[in-house]
Symmetry: C2
Subunit: 131 residues, 2 copies
C-alpha cells in the first residue's frame, strides 16, 4: 500500500526554496514533473477529495467517509485517490479493514512556493518591438 511513487521535482536551488516558475524560464524536465502534479489537481473530484482529506481534523480520512460524498462509483473514487497519491499529494495507510488517507503537506507547500512571486517584482513597462 505504501508504494507511493514520489514525485521528485527538479530540486530547489541550494540556497533557498523553489526557483519559482515566475522568476526563471523553467527547464523542460522540471515542467514535465510539475505538470503531473498540477494535472492531478485539474479535476473537480480530486480537488474535493484533497480538500476533504486536508481539512479533516486529525489529519486522516477513511475512504468509507469519502465515497458517499460523491455521485460516483467506488472504483472511480479509488482511481482518483490513486492519482493524487502518485502525484505525491497524499499518502495512504491500511489499519484493519479500513484505509486512511492523509495530506502530504510538503507537496502543497512546494506548489504554494512555486506560485509565489518574489517581493520586489520589477514594475511592468511596455515592451518595444521584439527581436
Amino acid at each position: 500500500m505504501s508504494n507511493q511513487e514520489f514525485v521528485v521535482l527538479g530540486q530547489d536551488g541550494p540556497g533557498g526554496c523553489c526557483p519559482g516558475l515566475l522568476t526563471a524560464p523553467l527547464a523542460e524536465d522540471q515542467a514535465t514533473e510539475l505538470a503531473k502534479v498540477f494535472k492531478a489537481l485539474g479535476d473537480p473530484v480530486r480537488l474535493r477529495l484533497l480538500s476533504m482529506i486536508a481539512s479533516r481534523a486529525g489529519g486522516e480520512v477513511c475512504v468509507c467517509d469519502l465515497t458517499p460524498a460523491f455521485d460516483l462509483s467506488q472504483p472511480t473514487i479509488s482511481h482518483h485517490l490513486k492519482l493524487l497519491r502518485e502525484a505525491g499529494l497524499i499518502a495512504s495507510e491500511r489499519r484493519g479493514t479500513w484505509v486512511f488517507y492523509r495530506l502530504l503537506p510538503e507537496m502543497t507547500d512546494r506548489l504554494a512556493g512555486i506560485l509565489t512571486r518574489p517581493a520586489g517584482e520589477p514594475l511592468p513597462e511596455p515592451a518595444q518591438a521584439p527581436s
Copy 2:
C-alpha cells in the same frame, strides 16, 4: 483581443482571502472553477509558457519570442496561450503587428493562497474506527 473570459472562483470570505482548500471541504462549483485553472497548469508546454511570460523583465513577451522555444507548430502554441488566457492566468494585447502576453498575478497569488495551509495546523493523530 481583450475578451478574456475571467474565471470568477467562488469568492473569498469577506474578512480575508481564500477559504483555503486545505481548511474547508470546498464546494462543488468552487472545485469546478478551480479545476479549470489547475488543468491549465497541468501541461508542460503551458507551464513553460507561463514561466517564460512571468519571468520576463518588463512583464511582457511577444508571441514571436515564445514560439521558437518549442518544437511545436505555431497554431499549437497559440492554442496553449488561449487556454492560459481563458484560465485567467495571462492577458494579451496587440500592439502593431505583434501580440504581447503578460502575467495576471492576481490568479497565481490566489492559487498560492489556496495552497497555503494555516499556520496553526492541528497535529495529526491517528483516527479511530470511522462512522
